[in-house]
Every structure is written in C-alpha cells, then in structure tokens.
C-alpha cells in the first residue's frame, strides 16, 4: 500500500478512554489525511495536514485531534472515545493534495464498546 503503514490494524477500547492511531509514510509526501469509513457514508474527511505542524479540520472533526511533528508521521487522537466513533479509519497521502490522486493505507478497525 504505497509505503503507508497504519497502526494498530485492529483495536477494541472502552467508552471514555483516549485512543491514538498512527500513520507512517515512507514516500515523503507533503499531504496526509485521516478519513473514516462507515456503511452508507463512503469516506468522510476527519483532519488533514499540508505540512509539518500544519493541520486543518475536515467535515467530521468533532471529538478528534491530530498532530504532525515529522513529515512521515500523522497521529489521530480520540480524546474520549464514544461508540459513535466505532469505524474503519484510513490514512491517505498525496504529493500535491486533492488535485492529484491519494494513496491509502490498509485501515484501522476501531471498536468502542
């Protein structure tokens, strides 16, 4: 999957606990994205980054925060997980942003009980 590693691949956690998902890329691409995928909704953008320490919100950012301290790593944090955040989370990267194609990781299946 184009030099993108997501960890963990699967996680089960309890409501109210903090959770951090990691995306690591070896492509040196500038743009990184976090999406969530839910049945009937396609992919929805949570947060994105256009450079180290440069991040912005997507359409479903409530309850999520991100950090990018290095080009290769983009972290997604659920401050206090809720059952509505049970989903499959995908990281994506792009060299030139949305005007060109995105490369996706294999996803993290998160279950919040």
């Amino acid at each position: 999957d184009a030099g993108i590693t997501q960890s963990p691949r699967h996680k089960v956690t309890e409501t109210g606990t903090p959770v951090t998902l990691r995306c690591h890329q070896t492509e040196n691409h500038r743009y990184m994205y976090w999406y969530r995928q839910d049945p009937g909704h396609g992919l929805r953008l949570i947060h994105y980054s256009y450079g180290v320490k440069d991040t912005d919100k997507g359409e479903v950012s409530d309850g999520y925060s991100v950090s990018r301290s290095k080009t290769e790593d983009f972290l997604l944090t659920l401050e206090s997980a809720t059952s509505s955040q049970t989903s499959v989370y995908f990281c994506a990267i792009s060299e030139k942003g949305e005007i060109e194609k995105l490369f996706f990781g294999s996803g993290t299946q998160l279950s919040v009980l």
Partner: protein
Amino acid sequence: SQQGEEDPQALSIQEGENATMNCSYKTSINNLQWYRQNSGRGLVHLILIRSNEREKHSGRLRVTLDTSKKSSSLLITASRAADTASYFCATVGFSGGYNKLIFGAGTRLAVHP
C-alpha cells in the same frame, strides 16, 4: 451532503460481461477520480479525469465525464472475478478557499465466474 453519488449501489454480473457504474455530483469540479476498494483493504486509485476532459482510458477501464449533466461513468470491459470490489467516485471542487475531495458511498460490484 455528499458531492458524488454512485448508481447503482450494487451490481452483479458474470465474468466477461461489461460493468457500468455512474456517478452524479452537484457543484462545479476541478477533477473527478475513481477508486477501487477490495474487501478489508484501503482504496486504490484507478483513474483521474479533469474537468476539461470528456473521456479517458486505462487498460480495461473507460471513464467519461459530462460536466453539463454533472455526471461521470466508469466502464469495466470484459470483467473478471478479480474485479469484484467496491468502486467509489470522488469529486474535487474548490470550496472555502481550498480544494476538497469528497467521496460517494460507492457501488459494490460482484463478478461471478
């Protein structure tokens, strides 16, 4: 609301037949992209068509774009069992000062041997 919406939601065909999936969108776009997702995997970029293009080919894939009707179609010719996957269109439009990539809910294609 979603920018791109695929039709049909599900499609079942026999190997060797052609598969056609349609995507409609609502606002002006810079480009439109098609992605494939195999079960349990991330999305894989298939093809990108720009707003000033009408048709594009890549192997057995043919994409058309009609900006006057705000629609696109993806044709897979001579389908194979390995084409079984979900297919998503994603539109890129300029909104709020930056390019936004928005995915539809996808078409699930099943190709039977």
